[in-house]
């Protein structure tokens, strides 16, 4: 589809790059009113003092992206899905409005040559060219104004530089008078031309021949001025006003969707449901991520406000600002704690509300801003003593990059350890300086200042790796010991020790399996010993396998397990105590087994559930056992005393095919049925048995389940996109597609994307481990993937041989 982005700012460039990475099949067009392709607005000051050119601050774009310059969108036709500029019409499938904001001025500046705003490359250019010999008057004291003031002070052009505030503050109203005084002092001391005037404003101006020749303030008169406005910004929504719902900005939901289903708004032009409008690069990029996920039909929880860290490095002081989402400027309960040091020109200003830290503004501060951020995020009550005790703590040095949380000393270590000699060389190790770009110069300086030595670097690396490995191995050992401590019933006892050891014959095949499992869990070969130990423990873990509204596909898959072979699996490695498909006893006999495990191994057994849980008809679409318990009742009873619950297959995950439209039995997944968030999900239709065995092993080894993703799926198995590891991916890249079943491409094993393969939407390791002893998998069989592991959505949206219709990407 064609995605059109209106606006040529940082957000536009970010989205074009992200879309190209995640879904290269779509066309992206950027429509900007500027004469330049997207550039980094953060570095406008560098254009003013001409330390950089517009090319140098240009943002990289994917080669495929089309950019329409000098094109201001005048009108959007939402019916026909087109945007109009003065000279062109562009159709879209999805439209993204990222027009940012427009600067305010105090009076109409049209036709006046010496009054500008400071927002674009053209503004910078104008300032650089026209201020020569003038008395520069900057109206407004926000961060950008302060930065520009700092820049102008380095230039010879201006005769005088005035910074005028209508109020009594600089930077932000919240700043204490001490801080304002300190900043004023520092600025004015740095350059005799600089003067900061508080509580003043323009009361009169004289205009001759399109030029302001004089302005009159309350306190004085300034002749031959050059005016720069920095009095605030407003969302730029002119082009969208008549097409989508707007308030101050364009109204969007958490996924950045506007009132029109095909139009998104992102960045400073967008207004969230609670009225919030983003202002910083980081927030805008997170909004962009939310929008992209929604456009591509991927799951995303949407944009949420978060604690922000901002920094301003001007001249001789460093300002840092941490703001909680709970911060309200005018709140009467706000209290302040200020710690200041004259000798260091340092002020730490804390704003608290009911014992919670809501904001921190520091000048030349040493405090760990990230620690404060965490404090705000956890919403813990603060001990004011902490602030004093930690005011000088700077073990890791200054916070250089707030976006990545990189401290000076950490970066120096990285630079030395990896022999980083230039900015590009740092990329593999750290994104510092690359997110919003504000600190890029500082990072470059740090690299320049840090000498590197390859021999020392190698030594440092080896030392650190050894340390990390030792620490991890210690952790593994500790966990196995802990497991034995916690599960005394499962210890090997002196009476059965000999026999048990014999039953775990360490055959060659077994060793091979251990190696295989170690590798498929992405553990270092050093872990093999631990895996072996875990395997011997595994035999002692009781397992209950319940079948609910299922088709037994996962059990059938399980008995096809080849690593280990299923006979070894059930005779040696696990104690499969209750499994309706395979167990010897029925009826009363099987019920007795179930009762015995629940009572005697309470808290120790693992429950594996296959199938959905029907909730309709009070759960009576499924009844099990002599008392006619419903599936839900049985599940609740067995899950209550389980050490852990694993939901295997897509039905147990979220209802799967049983919950597909119109979900006749009201089926849900195990997690939803139990109302629990700690269910381990192993979706797939059916799940590959290796994913069950590997997950069990991890549990035994570490006494906890492997790292899970947002859907509680083990990352080691679900952290892959089928598409990314597909054997046919090369053909995709070359544009070699099967166009018809059985055609020449099909005979040659070309890419199945055009035949509706949903590999790009599937998070699973099928392409890595395959099925039935590695024999094949659906893509190898020429059919393509239908993302069966994504749960019920697969059966409503993906189980077909058609490419996703574009409207379903939303």
């Amino acid at each position: 589809m064609r995605i059109v982005i209106v606006g040529g700012g940082i957000v536009a460039a970010y989205m074009a790059n992200a879309l190209s990475e995640q879904a290269p099949e779509h066309d992206v067009v950027i429509v900007t009113k500027e004469p330049y392709p997207p550039y980094d607005r953060i570095h406008l000051c560098a254009l003013v003092n001409q330390t950089a050119t517009i090319e140098q601050i240009a943002l990289p774009l994917p080669p495929k992206t089309r950019v329409e310059l000098n094109s201001e969108v005048t009108h959007i036709d939402t019916e026909a899905k087109r945007v109009y500029t003065a000279s062109a019409m562009i159709s879209y499938d999805v439209l993204i409005i990222a027009t940012g904001s427009k600067p305010r001025t105090l009076f109409d500046t049209r036709g006046i040559s010496n009054a500008v705003t400071f927002r674009s490359a053209a503004d910078s250019d104008c300032i650089a060219k026209c201020m020569e010999g003038k008395n520069v008057v900057m109206m407004g004291v926000g961060p950008i104004g302060l930065e520009l003031l700092d820049t102008l002070a380095t230039m010879n052009g201006p005769a005088k530089i005035y910074l005028i505030s209508r109020g009594s503050h600089l930077y932000d109203k919240a700043m204490t008078p001490e801080a304002v005084a300190l900043m004023k002092r520092i600025y004015e001391a740095s350059d005799p031309r600089v003067e900061i005037i508080l509580e003043d404003e323009i009361v009169e101006r004289k205009v001759e021949n399109g030029e302001i020749t004089r302005i009159v303030l309350k306190s004085r008169t300034i002749d031959n001025p050059f005016l720069i406005f920095g009095v605030g910004i407003a969302p730029s929504v002119d082009c969208a006003k008549s097409s989508v719902a707007c308030d101050r900005g364009i109204l969007v939901d958490a996924h950045m969707r506007t009132s029109d289903p095909y139009i998104y708004a992102v960045g400073e032009a967008a207004q969230m449901p609670d009225g919030y409008i983003a202002g910083r690069v980081k927030e805008c990029t997170l909004q962009a991520d939310a929008a992209i996920a929604s456009i591509l039909g991927r799951e995303h929880e949407g944009f949420r406000e978060f604690v922000t860290i901002d920094g301003l490095k001007v001249g001789s002081f460093l300002l840092s600002d941490v703001t909680s989402t709970a911060y309200e400027p005018g709140n009467a309960d706000n209290e302040e704690i200020v710690i200041s040091s004259r000798s260091e020109n340092r002020i730490d200003q804390y704003i608290l509300n009911n014992e919670h830290l809501v904001r921190f503004i520091g000048i030349n501060s040493n405090i760990d801003a990230l620690a404060l951020k965490r404090m705000m995020e956890s919403a813990q009550k603060v001990d004011p003593g902490y602030f004093y005790a930690n005011r000088l703590i700077s073990e890791r040095g200054k916070l250089i990059c707030s976006c990545t949380g990189s401290y000076e000393h950490d970066l120096i270590d990285l630079i030395r350890e990896n022999c980083v000699e230039d900015f590009a060389g740092l990329k593999p190790y750290s994104e510092a300086g690359r997110v919003c770009g504000r600190c890029k110069k500082d990072v470059m300086q740090l690299i320049a200042d840090t000498p590197v030595d390859p021999a020392e670097a190698a030594h440092m690396r080896a030392e650190r790796e050894a340390k990390a490995k030792e620490a991890e191995l210690a952790k593994v050992r500790e966990r196995i010991e802990k497991y034995n401590r916690l599960h005394p019933a499962n210890q090997l006892s002196p009476e059965n020790f000999e026999e048990a050891l014999e039953s775990f014959e360490m055959s060659r095949e077994y060793n091979r399996w251990v190696s295989m499992v170690t590798a498929s869990m992405h553990l270092h070969p050093d872990y093999e010993e631990s895996v072996k130990e875990a395997v011997t423990q595994l035999n002692k873990i009781p397992i209950i396998w319940l079948e609910l509204a299922d088709c037994t596909g996962n059990s059938e898959g399980f008995i096809k397990s080849s690593h280990p072979k299923v006979d070894d699996l059930i005779l040696k490695y696990i104690s499969l105590d209750y499994h309706e498909l395979l167990m010897a006893g029925s009826g009363d006999q099987s019920e007795a087994v179930l009762e015995s495990v629940i009572n005697n191994d309470s808290g120790n057994y693992i429950l594996i559930v296959e199938g959905a849980v029907p909730l309709g008809l009070d759960g009576k679409f499924l009844r099990i056992g002599p008392k006619g318990e419903t599936g839900l009742e049985l599940l609740r009873r067995v899950a209550a005393k389980a050490a852990a619950v694993m939901a295997v297959g897509s039905c147990a995950f979220d209802g799967g095919v049983v919950a597909a439209e119109p979900n006749p039995t009201g089926a849900v997944g195990v997690s939803e049925a139990l109302g629990r968030k700690d269910i381990i999900n192993l979706p797939g239709c059916p799940v590959n048995p290796i994913n069950i065995v590997g997950t069990l092993l991890h549990y035994i080894m570490f006494d906890e389940f492997p790292k899970l993703d947002a859907k509680n799926r083990p990352e080691w198995a679900y952290g892959f996109r089928v598409h990314d590891n597909c054997e046919r991916r090369g053909h995709y890249e070359l544009g070699e597609f099967v166009k018809e079943w059985g055609d020449e491409g099909a005979k040659k094993g070309w890419c199945l994307f055009e035949m509706g393969c949903k590999g790009p939407y599937a998070d699973l390791n099928c392409s890595l481990v395959k099925f039935n002893d590695g024999t094949s998998w659906p893509v190898q069989a020429g059919h393509g993937c239908f993302a069966c592991g994504q749960g019920k959505i697969a059966f409503d949206l993906y189980a077909n041989h058609r490419k996703l219709p574009e409207k379903e990407h939303e």
């Binding site: 039953s503 072979k565 049983v658």
Partner: protein, 565 residues
């Protein structure tokens, strides 16, 4: 009648799905009445409604994860039938290779892993004399499967270690030591040896299925018009791999599965002669699976009341379904196409037992010309034998001769397993014939695997059926298409036939009938009931999904002649 005692067995384990059996026994522990009840309803057919007909296969496949590819195939075939699409020969052959491999896989898993523990006492195997067991094997086969003394000793040791190590896992609380077990310790050991070997064999044949089907369970290789795995079909190494696996599997079937059944027939002859597990003797087959020059693997036909002198031809329009004892609204016997089957759940009794006088199952009661029918390997072997099928009769005769059986003996709990084993042997052999057909095609440059059609120009209204013999019996899927969408979908599956509840005339289903007259040695451990039920190879997820068909015009369904399949 007052001293009848009720026994509830739920869950019936070692089957696919959620089945409950209730029986009433008299003072001599003889079963006088029985009820079979499906305890799960999912409504897959409702889910299929309104979808693109080309997508039905991937959803219908999920009806069952055990006989997983047959629903996939029947569904796709029903849509092809509706549109009048004939698939290329290669596609037909590959579909057959996959389906018949499933027969073998399914029969092996069913017998060894789901059923044999009803005949085999694992604990007794520990007492076996391995040397004697090795010699005994020679009695059942000229070339017994893995019967060396060393191997049998290692199997016994493995089992013994497992038992001594503490937890018995799947084998905990079995019916060990039950009076109804008949094998000697040595025979038990031979069986347990094959139980473990069969786990490997079923895994290997699954890999053979995956060669052409991508994976199993739930293969992914079919589309309306053909198959997708053309690259595998044209790859000589893949064809070779497939044949070598089948060769190994055939080896197992001939040297282990068939001899084991001969042993079981001999040891349980008393039970066979008592007719334990015999149902009403009505058998129904739709036949199918062409190969070579017009040869047919299975015959179609209907036999009534064990009358082996007469085989009526099979006519699908004589099928009705009724719900007088099932949890659906309309009680009257109707053509399945006319059935109005909205769920109407009347619950269990307060003590959790079935309401034995009222509705008691999610399974409906299908009838053929008003009669209850049994479907499956037993029906296929008997109909094939009686109709002098050249593919079936020689195998059945050979088995009867060496096991000293009469034809009627197959119609018992033990006999059903013998029929199933013979069928597995037949499938293995004829898989090679079908593979030869495929190789012949490729040899003469026929590489077609898909019949081209333009979906948009296919009729918007159509109807069709896919009717197949599948491991458990006759499977039929019906689809009606309106406005290029599925307007109605219906599957009548083998277990619906066998697990049928009673009908309005109180005639029992096959499971129920098979239980009548069985004597229980120990009513608290009803092993004999399990034996009878398991002999049918129940698959309940398949059986219970029939819902809400409003297609009153469905009697116009053009049912494909089963022989053409």
């Amino acid at each position: 009648m007052n001293n009848l005692k009720k026994i509830v067995i739920d869950p019936i384990t070692r089957i696919e799905g959620h089945l409950r059996i209730e029986v009433e026994i008299d003072e001599n522990n003889v079963v006088r009445e029985a009820w079979a009840s499906g305890q799960l309803f999912r409504g897959i057919e409702t889910i299929l409604k309104g979808r693109d007909p080309r997508d039905a296969g991937l959803i219908a496949q999920r009806i069952c994860g055990v006989c997983t590819n047959v629903h996939y195939r029947a569904s796709i075939s029903a849509v092809e039938d509706a549109y009048g699409i004939t698939i290329p020969s290669n596609a037909e052959i590959v579909r057959n290779l996959v389906t018949l491999s499933l027969f073998v896989q399914d029969h092996i898993v069913h017998y060894y892993h789901l059923h044999s523990l009803d005949f085999v006492d694992i604990t007794a195997a520990l007492k076996a004399d391995c040397k004697m067991a090795s010699v005994e094997s020679e009695q059942w086969s000229e070339h017994p499967y893995r019967n060396s003394l060393d191997h049998l000793e290692s199997v016994q040791e493995k089992l013994s270690n497992f038992v001594k190590a503490g937890r018995l896992g799947l084998f905990a609380n079995g019916y060990w030591g039950h009076a109804a077990y008949r094998l000697t310790p040595e025979q038990n050991l031979i069986h347990m040896n094959h139980y473990l070997e069969a786990l490997r064999v079923q895994r290997e044949i699954s890999a053979a299925i995956a060669i052409f089907a991508g994976k199993t369970p739930h293969p992914q290789n079919l589309v309306v018009g053909g198959v997708t795995s053309v690259a595998d079909i044209l790859n000589p190494q893949r064809l070779n791999d497939f044949m070598f696996i089948i060769k190994d599997v055939r080896d197992f079937v001939e040297r282990a599965y068939i001899p084991d059944l001969k042993m079981i027939v001999s040891a349980y002859r008393e039970s066979i002669k008592a007719g334990e597990g015999r149902a009403s003797g009505n058998f129904m087959c739709c036949g199918g699976y062409r190969f070579g020059k017009d040869s047919l693997l299975f015959e179609s036909g209907v036999i009534h009341g064990h009358n082996f002198d007469e085989v009526a031809s099979f006519d699908p329009s004589k099928i009705t379904e009724e719900a007088s004892r099932s949890w659906y609204e309309n009680d009257a016997p109707l053509s399945p196409y006319e059935g109005d089957t909205t769920p109407f759940y009347t619950d269990l009794n307060p003590d959790g037992t079935l309401k034995s006088e009222g509705k008691y199952s999610w399974v409906k009661a299908p009838r053929y010309d008003g009669d209850v029918m049994e479907v499956g390997p037993l029906a296929r072997m008997i109909v094939g034998y009686v109709k002098q099928s050249p593919t079936i009769r020689p195998y059945v005769e050979r088995f009867m001769d060496s096991a000293k059986m009469e034809l009627i003996d197959f119609s018992t709990s033990v006999g059903r397993n013998a029929a199933r084993a013979v069928e597995a042997q037949i499938c293995c052999d004829y898989l090679f014939d079908m593979m030869s057909d495929l190789i012949e095609n490729i040899k003469y440059y026929d590489e077609e695997t898909w019949t081209k059609y333009v979906f948009e120009s296919l009729p918007k209204e159509a109807r069709g059926a896919g009717i197949f013999e599948v491991p458990r019996g006759v499977l039929s899927h019906f689809v009606r298409i309106e406005d290029a969408r599925i307007a109605n979908y219906q599957a009548v599956v083998p277990t619906t036939w066998n697990a049928s509840p009673k009908d309005a005339r109180n005639v029992r289903g096959a499971y129920e009938e098979a239980l009548i007259g069985i004597t229980l040695a120990d009513p608290s451990a009803p092993l004999e009931v399990l034996r009878a039920i398991h002999s049918f190879d129940p698959c309940l997820a398949c059986a219970v999904h029939v819902i809400d068909t409003k297609g009153r015009e469905l009697s116009h369904y053009k049912i494909m002649n089963s022989c053409s399949l």
